[in-house]
Point group: C2
Chain length 157, copies 2
Amino acid sequence: MSNPSAETPQPLTPDEEALVRALGQVMYVLPRTIDADMVGDRQLPLTEYTALMNLSEAPERRLRMHELAALCYLSLSGMTRTIIRLETQGLVKRERCEEDARGWNAVLTDAGFARLEESWPSHLAAVRRRFLQHFDGHDLARLARAFRQAGAAETTD
Amino acid sequence: MSNPSAETPQPLTPDEEALVRALGQVMYVLPRTIDADMVGDRQLPLTEYTALMNLSEAPERRLRMHELAALCYLSLSGMTRTIIRLETQGLVKRERCEEDARGWNAVLTDAGFARLEESWPSHLAAVRRRFLQHFDGHDLARLARAFRQAGAAETTD
DNA sequence: AACCGGTGCTTGATTGGTCAAGCAAATATC
DNA sequence: GATATTTGCTTGACCAATCAAGCACCGGTT
């Protein structure tokens, strides 16, 4: 991403500076507190919750590994490991893919669905308490748009 | 709407839902992309950059371990390990604390300061490109306030 | 002055992620 | 239709974080 020509780029304005510092804080703190809330409550870490949630929304409650990984913003190997954890708890099972024998589907089991329903209120509460609450009165739709842009990784350069 | 009982808490509005999903994305993706940008450019991972930056702003460019840990939103042991990495690169040194022989100060070396100056533009560019840019036209001060609230961990309930 | 609980930091074990290498099935090329 | 390349996922090695246990020193009590 190399330094754009100038050796001393435009420094941040105080407002920008404040936002960037606050971002640092949020990036570090939020995932951990939400995760901690959920683990404390129902023993379901955020990553595993996210996986189950995405499965529950998929047709047939099943998804190929790479699709699920993308939806969870996880590497493929990270996803493999998450699914293994979920499988040993009986919340998910893996089935070979019909039309491509290299592929696997992760399938949400009934136990997995039940567990998700159980965890859902806790997750919702954590998200409200730790996050949404503080954006009361903001234009949420507009914020969401900005967030999505920022999150769209454009790994390039 | 029907019964908001204890078992079915108020679900999210579509706007809230969108924001929460976008947050998930940002929480996962941003730290990694910013880190990747900086590592690619100057071999300074974000955690180490943050430590150096906080030291550079401290009086005498020195800080006790627990102070630095708090500023970096890191556990004390995480901080120990980060400082060890920085020390082996010669960017920081540790000195026993004068008034309390149990304590240590992490001190930014000249090499560390130089390295920080070198990395600064790259960090700035990454932050602009990955984050600030997408909040053009927003009320940054207000946003920063909301972020800070969300980041203020209140670990217990 | 000898103890003893509390504090500051480090160390050991574990965890949850990464990337790179590997394996098996699919597909393209000849 | 045999071989080479690509694709889908898993595995191995590693890394940066965590928590809990340990060690050294402080400061108050007797």
